[in-house]
């Protein structure tokens, strides 16, 4: 693993820092350096699987505090892009930077997560054998080393944070229920709740409203817009209505690269986008 001396020093400093009290929704202190530009920067990223180019010369920039929606037909490379950002997939070429200091291509998933990038999966993935509270507890920001984890206990502050998040995601009554028995929508919320517990600087949200009712969608939209500003949010979504309701900036992916970028209206009137969505792809929303 290519960890620079700087990173090590940074981590050392991180350990030495005294505990700070955070308010709800304030991002956890992240070492990310955004003084000189965007929070996320992808340049010329390409990856292929068995000859198929899933991502092709992708360039993408997300500014600090931005809420960005990414749309695109199936197979456009949205999920693969998230895999690359979170360290699950290594690109064949290109660069991915978090702030101006962290080269994400040299880090693995836990390191990236601990830098402050949170991810919600397309298919809700929660820990089914644990109950809702425990799910949130695990996601709570804190020292993730083995020994500390073994000795960790839930203090008053942590418990009140969990209570707050439970309130936000509407699962207070289900707090001791096993996550495995929750409905699909509830799992979606739980996963969002876990993201909130993590307090990341950058949230990657993959199809957050799939399986949600109309009012739930509204709440999600509200939540995401509220998050933006303090945190950067990247939403991948198929539901155009939902995208329209939250989006300020929209990026259209097609065949692994950016087809168009702009406000929803700009994008929607782009002839290439119309061509991609109407021309042959039956999945057009």
């Amino acid at each position: 693993m290519n960890v620079t001396l700087n990173d090590r020093l940074e981590r050392l400093r991180e350990f030495a820092r005294p505990d700070q009290v955070f308010g709800f929704m304030v991002p956890a202190q992240s070492p990310v350096d955004v003084r000189h530009g965007p929070i996320l920067y992808l340049e010329d990223v390409s990856v292929s699987f068995d000859g198929f180019r899933a991502i092709n010369q992708l360039n993408l920039t997300i500014d600090d505090g931005e809420l960005r929606c990414i749309i695109g037909p199936n197979g456009a490379g949205k999920t693969t892009m998230m895999d690359i950002i979170t360290g699950k997939t290594r690109p064949d070429s290109g660069q991915v930077w978090f702030g101006s200091r962290h080269n994400l291509l040299t880090l693995d998933e836990p390191q990236i997560a601990n830098l402050g990038i949170g991810r919600k999966f397309q298919k809700p993935t929660v820990f089914e054998a644990l109950d809702v509270t425990e799910n949130l507890e695990l996601a709570m920001a804190g020292d993730r080393r083995v020994w500390k984890t073994l000795l960790a206990s839930l203090d008053h502050e942590g418990r009140s944070r969990i209570d707050e998040v439970l309130e936000t995601i509407g699962l207070t009554v289900a707090r001791y229920r096993l996550a495995g028995v929750l409905s699909h929508g509830q799992k979606q919320w739980l996963e969002i709740g876990m993201l909130l517990m993590q307090r990341p600087r950058l949230l990657l949200v993959d199809e957050p409203v799939a399986g949600m009712t109309e009012p739930e969608m509204h709440r999600t939209a509200e939540l995401l817009t509220r998050l933006a500003g303090q945190q950067s949010v990247v939403v991948v979504e198929h539901d155009m209505g939902f995208v329209r309701s939250i989006a300020r900036q929209v990026t259209v992916l097609h065949q692994g690269s950016v087809l168009a970028e702009g406000t929803m209206d700009e994008v929607a009137s782009d002839p290439r986008v119309i061509e991609v969505y109407l021309g042959g792809d039956e999945e057009a929303a």
Binding site: P110, A113, F121, T125, F127, A129, Q198
Partner: protein, 354 residues
Amino acid sequence: MTLTDNLGRGDRSRQAFLSRSTLLTSLVLIVGMLAVLILNALPDSNALHVSGATVALLGKYFTYMLLALAVDLIWGYLGILSLGHGAFFALGGYAMGLYLNAQTSPLHGWQSIMTYFPVAALAILLAPGLLALVFGWLAFRSRVTGVYFSIITQALTFALMLAFNRNEMGMGGSTGLTRFYELLGFSLSSEGMTVALFTASGMAVLLAFWLCRAITVSRLGRVSMATRDAEARVRFIGYRVDHVKLALFVVSAMIAGVAGALYVPQVGIINPSTFAPLFSIEVVVWVALGGRATLYGALLGALAVNYLKTVLTGAMPDAWLFILGGLFVVVTMLLPQGIAGLISKWRGRQEASA
């Protein structure tokens, strides 16, 4: 985590260290042990007297239970199926065997350090621990999971079996280490020693049970269960899955090593057949039969299968494999949660009717 934390949490008792199942299991273990000790102390003529041989047998069962516990810790709670845990058991056993040999005949070369009990005791923990550390570090770092992991653990124990079979290893070749006479200056064949070993094994089971319990109810335990069910997700919230796995794997290997070390003086021999993949698979079967991820299930399973084996190999030497093999099939199909599942179902019904 304190007891009060859990008040008012309804059925959340499974997460508390001092839960009902912990208390009950500890109680059964302690009372059972005391009962055996008391019954053993009765005069021979008494109808309830328990002979030294039975105490020795039960002592051996305890070491198997300890091994099953070690397997359940990583299989039940972490989802790592090791088909090679017999290797750690055997390594602990060999460490003890060398020490026991040293009591009567001088050892040569590097082995001579095993003459001292503290060194031997350390080796009992370190030999399996180090092997687990190196092997686990390699495997978990490169994310070898699932059956791939299971199969290479099997390859590991198989390779060790072949290696220990070689006389060049200096471990007695295929006959292994035997002819033990003394432990800590006491004769191994005395009844007192049998009782002492039984007690030590029982205490080891109890302590290991508490240790495993403490681990599984801690946040680390929850991380490990989370890892078992959705490994990738755990990584994305920032836990170093490989470290978690490695830590538990090493702990588990050490418990297995202690089990082996207690097993050897009671059985009187350690040889490479303990490394045989079949033995390790059998251990997994005990755990599955007793019920995964419950800890007490592992204890029950190990006891039940070995008791059955003792009874059946004597009572029906020609047919016992049909019964035991058939039992494995039937239990798997009808009791997916093992004996523990049956117990909790039964308890659930009782509570419902109460």
